[in-house]
């Protein structure tokens, strides 16, 4: 049995934050869990999918976050407990549904879990979903340690049922992708027969219609429930205070910053000067609790990542209470005590505290920093962001790049979200010139492809992955075909949601729980939409380039090129080499006229290395995945491929 299912009393495990969330949901007796893969959130659904059968839960990787939310909401309407998981910007994708769901209310406990990425460690944004909680007028919970990650997840379901609305639980990379000790609680057994009741009194939250109309009435009911949540929060054990009764400085924090604050206070030995109010319930704010603590101090520092969400809300509360508690001096993001971008860390918080309290903080000497930087720069091998050895994207972009150059119309690629986003860098031959949200490459291309009447004469390409195609590229493609936009969409189909760890998507034959499901044919969809479609193996460089140039020649309409080659790291392919590669040193042209190190200077697969002493290229046998593509780019025919045994 999985460690996540252990029901021994007070069992204690070192859990990944995402596993703690999964355990919390299990303890709450979750019935349905849905989500769309996105770092740092993916392990929650993955953990649950592995135990779906044992735990009798339904787990789904949905087509996109909006659908995932709808799937979870349906379970709630049928009286079940459900959870929906995504990365921060996934909330944006489903926000329209969430606005209406907040208005209609929910039945069975429903928890939305955005795992956010301050500092954009694995994102192209450091977006905030906390503002959505305020906008939608629903409760926001932010665990402050690993135990709380599990406990608050469990509690979130109860809270949801108390107020008949969904609850947002926000994790961050430093919880989701770090590990901490968690003591288990009981797994609740809930014996529920799912049924969607709709024939009660129309306005009854449990048996009427879950619709946001009549809007004003439902809205005021929702606000009453939110007030109820705020009252519960006043006594919540997840809001804690540590420190002297009348601190010189009150630090208010939440989430992972709780850990940084604790460390900073300890580091400075400032326990007698600083009080730490850690809030687990950050919207709506527990005003009474705040009043109690604000009354005891003059100076307040608010520590949070990224934007001053709590800071601004607390200031409003403090202003309203100013008559009773007096004016306070606030430190935080607005006065630049803390940065409004990136992750925080104990060092940043320590510096802020030392500045405010005028405490001496022995930072490492400049000399030490210089020395450390020097070691990093000279001793650590330089590793740039690049595609893996044997990655089909390198081959795809090679052909895309060459086709664009030959086409000669200053063409470019509208990018999308996936490993292939890296193509704005040299690993993708710098072909990618726009990069925004999921599916927006196709949407942008649809727009560029309609600018001819204004003198626009560049060739337009868009890329999207197979999972991204289903996620949000499809509506953009429909738009493009319908409006006779002129561009070529290249679908980089590597048979899985590769970047986040090979989660299944509608194009595949099995689902999150390993069940056999019908796969949906991308090529057929595109043909049905009315696009001109070609399917090609990107490892065949010559034909890929030829076909692509051919498609780009068609003057009107949307062209689709599906480049199909399984990811080099996919479970099916892993560790299997198709070819054994070798280099004929006598044929290698090296740096001379006729080659100038094409393979190691331009193509730059990590499986190839340049031996400067011998003036020849070499294969790194350990790293090479044996895709064989470099043999086809070598102008000297010095790279040989032999079918692997």
């Amino acid at each position: 049995m999985s460690f996540l299912m252990d029901n021994t009393e007070k069992a204690r495990y070192l859990l990944l934050g995402n596993e703690a969330i999964a355990r919390g949901a299990l303890e709450a007796g979750v019935n349905v869990a849905s989500g769309y893969p996105g770092t740092p959130s993916s392990e929650i659904i993955e953990s649950l999918s592995k135990i779906a059968k044992d735990a009798n839960i339904y787990v789904e990787w949905s087509t996109n976050e909006k659908v995932a939310m709808e799937v979870a909401a349906a379970a709630s309407f049928a009286g079940l407990r459900s959870m929906c998981v995504m990365k921060q910007n996934g909330v944006n994708v489903g926000s329209d549904f969430l606005l209406h769901l907040a208005g209609s209310g929910t039945r069975g406990g429903m928890v939305i879990v955005p795992c956010e990425d301050p500092g954009a460690l694995s994102s192209v944004n450091e977006g905030e979903s906390r503002y959505f909680a305020k906008l939608f007028e629903i409760p926001l919970l932010e665990p402050g340690d690993f135990q709380e990650v599990k406990d608050m997840t469990k509690w979130a379901f109860e809270l949801s049922e108390k107020i008949n609305n969904f609850v947002m639980l926000r994790s961050v990379t430093r919880f989701s992708h770090a590990s901490g000790n968690v003591t288990y609680g009981d797994i609740i057994k809930r014996d529920i027969n799912a049924q969607f009741k709709y024939d009660g009194f129309i306005l009854d939250p449990m048996e009427g219609l879950p619709i946001s109309a009549p809007v004003e009435y439902k809205h005021s009911e929702q606000q009453k429930k939110l007030k109820q949540a705020a009252e519960i929060f006043e006594k919540s054990p997840f809001n804690t205070y540590t420190g002297v009764k009348k601190p010189e400085l009150l630090v208010i924090t939440s989430s992972a910053c709780n850990l940084y604050c604790k460390e900073a206070i300890q580091l400075l030995g400032a326990e007698d000067k600083v009080g730490l109010l850690k809030l687990g319930t950050t919207w709506p704010l527990p005003q009474g609790l705040l009043k109690t603590h604000l009354s005891e101090t003059k100076k307040v520092l608010i520590v949070e990542e990224v934007l001053p969400f709590m800071e601004e809300n607390i200031k409003v509360v403090a202003l309203e209470m100013a008559g009773e508690i007096g004016n306070k001096i606030f430190y935080g993001k607005n006065d630049n005590t803390l940065p409004k971008v990136g992750e925080l860390n104990p060092d940043i918080v320590t510096q802020a505290l030392s500045k405010i309290l005028n405490l001496k903080y022995e930072q490492r000497s400049d000399e030490y920093i210089k020395k450390a930087q020097n070691i990093v720069l000279t001793k650590a091998p330089h590793r740039e962001l690049t595609f893996c050895p044997g990655c089909p994207h390198r081959s795809s972009y090679w052909s895309i790049h060459n086709a664009l150059k030959l086409d000669g119309r200053k063409g470019f690629v509208c990018g999308d979200i996936g490993c292939y986003s890296l193509a704005f860098l040299p690993c993708g031959f710098s072909t990618l010139k726009t990069l925004h949200s999921m599916g927006s490459g196709t949407g942008l291309a649809s727009g560029f492809g309609k600018l001819k009447q204004f003198g626009f004469a560049q060739s337009v390409l868009a890329v999207c992955g197979d999972s991204t195609f289903f996620h949000t590229a499809m509506p953009a493609l429909v738009n493009a075909v319908h409006h006779k936009s002129d561009f070529t969409l290249i679908i980089l189909d590597n048979s899985g949601t590769a970047m986040t760890g090979f989660q299944p998507h509608p194009g595949l034959k099995s689902n999150a729980m390993g069940e056999e499901v019908p796969s949906i044919d991308i090529a057929k969809i595109c043909v049905a939409m009315g696009a001109k479609v070609r399917v090609q193996d990107p490892f065949d460089l010559e034909n890929t380039q030829k076909q692509l140039l051919d498609l780009m020649e068609y003057k009107e309409g949307v062209k689709v090129m599906i480049l199909r080659q399984i990811c080099a790291l996919s479970p099916e392919k892993k560790a299997k080499k198709k070819y054994e590669m070798s280099i004929d040193e006598n044929k290698c042209i090296g740096e001379n006229c006729g080659c100038n190190r094409l393979c190691t200077r331009i193509f730059r697969c990590p499986g190839l290395e340049w031996d400067a002493k011998a003036n020849v290229a070499r294969i790194d046998d350990v790293i090479c995945r044996g895709c064989g593509v470099c043999a086809d780019i070598c102008p000297g025919k010095a790279i040989n491929k032999k079918e692997a045994a």
Binding site: H401, L406, C593, G594, N596
Partner: protein
Amino acid sequence: MGFLGPNELTENVIQKNLCIGCGACMNLCPYFRSYRCKTAMLFPCTVSEGRCASFCPKIEVDLDYLSKQYFGNLFGASSLGHNISIMISQKGKKIKNHTFQAGGTVSALISFALKKKYISSAILTDREGLLPIPRIITKDEDVFKCASTKYAAAPTLSALNTAIGKGHSQIGVVGTPCQTTAIAQMRTTQSTNKDPVGMVIGLFCTWALDYTQLEPFISQQIETNKILKFDILPPPAEIMEIYTTDGKKHEISLDKIRKFIPATCSYCADMTSEFSDISVGVLEGYPDKNTLIIRSEKGKMLVDEAEKEGYIIVDEIPEKSLEHLKTAARQKRKRALLKAKEDGLLNATEDGKFSCIKLNSLSIEKITA
């Protein structure tokens, strides 16, 4: 020559629109490629001296050096270049009827040379629709597929580089003045003693046309895959005729296509492909005859043998026709040198500036007088 690399080539030829797309820099390395007759540099190359730049007929072409290498003297002021004899010609009885541009002399000579193994392969230019396609031809009967003028500037020499790369020797090439100039530069900068080129037949050329502009213009009015032959009528007609497989003749005013002449043609001082063994062109007023200029002993031998065996028929050139030809060639030469001089592309001396043409001052003076 030999001191320039891909950076100079890209900056001074490709980016300044001086590239005619002859193909001399292509298929030598992975960087220069031709697509729809346009030269593209796929990736930056950092070598300081490259064959690409030393072969290019548009940068630092030292006419005196080439002339010395080929003909033993400085480049003179004569309008038709070094020659042994000038005559008129047409295909002989041994050659079946076909759609030839004029007298069919080039096809006849090349097929003869292949048959008699004077050359082992021929680099010719085929056509698909309006798109010129460089070919490596090894069978004499395949020569005729490539007959007749293409007018669009073609990357013919890419096929020569491919053939050399494959180890061909005794290669025959048919090319325009820019292409034959490039071949001359290739042959004088070869690192090995073995010259892979066995015979160069140059074509007369006043200007070429830019395929990427010509194609959309022509394909609006004519199905390009039905085109049999193009012809430009002698002045003052100002008309291009296009014959199609349905037996029709389409007339297009030269006015409308002159704008498709690449700017780089205005710097070309060579009308008759002077660095060749034999040069062939039309003979004004005689649509089924050619003008033939024999420039080397090897060329003379080929013409003599071909005539002896009935592959071509030769005759004396009428005095009037020769004068016409000389005038036209002289005028092109003069225009080009004046233009190059005006634009700083003749004997450039400034640091970092490169010439299109380099030539002794005495000849410049005579030509531009």
